[in-house]
Symmetry: C2
Subunit: 148 residues, 2 copies
DNA sequence: GGAAATGGGACTGGTTTGGTCCTATTTAAG
DNA sequence: CTTAAATAGGACCAAACCAGTCCCATTTCC
């Protein structure tokens, strides 16, 4: 289905929620509660995002996570790469030789690169903020909490 | 890895090989031999391509497959859709509601659409011919055969 | 010192996918 | 008319992959 990891989807949801209070320090359990997603999953997502440098994690009691840059500056590619790895559409990786067994017979050898860059370019232009529907209103957020 | 099905890769290889003799009727075993790919796999790929209308299959002895249109007119999306299904990057399909359990809590709901169209547009512009490295020279083809 | 949080990774069940094989159907050749 | 060669279609199985959970170490505030 050419689908990306479900965790990527979750990540966007979590980031969107964080974007509503961009400066605040928010804990994983807290965010789980506010997004309605299961807590262990949110924790995992945040860990990965922290590794990628998209969010910044502060340890200790009263610790939590914080966006390391404003939502509109977070490119979608950053998130995707964090969870799905480098954006390369095929098994025959970009310049890499030696990995494909039928390489010496293959007319396509390496030719996927233009495709990959085309997709990277397309995704590069999209920020997470654009996916977030930038900020549900606070009222709407309250409604969601109530719905739980 | 955001990778597409390996069969898609094979398909492009096979199509590229067919493009070298675009009008000729070529059998699955023959193409398998010429591409160096295992025969059952090539057969499967061709069946799928036939269903998608990319190639045309003729039955019976002396049957075979033929491109249903010239290689440069075959868009990459056609091939991808044939093997990987519709190009939609997330589990939450385009307009479809009701499939996602946390939809009522989800700030992203449906917002992936722009991403999907961005990717579709990018892929739409690429033809299989562009990936094929359009035609190894006949000499090169002979070399390959000899190399087997 | 204890509680609360992140950091990092191991483990596992479920799903998906690739690859193979089998059978029916069609058509040309002998 | 029989046989052979090919496509059409689908069933099946093993392997790879992924999500989800859990566990333990580390850090920091109270
Ligand atoms: S299939 Fe691997 S190089 Fe072409
Ligand atoms: S995660 Fe499904 S609608 Fe957002």
């Amino acid at each position: 289905m050419l689908r990306l990891s479900r965790l990527t989807d979750y990540a966007v949801v979590v980031l969107a929620r964080m974007g509503e209070e961009a400066t605040a320090l928010q804990s994983a359990p807290g965010l789980a509660h506010r997004t309605g997603l299961p807590e262990p999953t949110v924790a995992k997502v945040l860990k990965t995002l922290a590794q990628a440098g998209v969010v910044e994690g502060l340890r200790g009691a009263r610790g939590g996570y914080r966006l390391s840059k404003p939502l509109p500056e977070i490119k979608l590619t950053e998130v995707i790469v964090a969870f799905d790895g480098p954006i390369a559409l095929t098994a025959c990786v970009d310049g890499g030789s030696g990995l494909c067994e039928s390489e010496h017979l293959c007319p396509v050898r390496g030719r996927w690169d233009p495709v990959n860059t085309a997709i990277r370019d397309a995704l590069e232009k999209i920020s997470v903020a654009e996916l977030a529907g930038h900020a549900l209103s606070p009222a709407e957020a309250d409604f969601r909490l109530a719905a739980e």
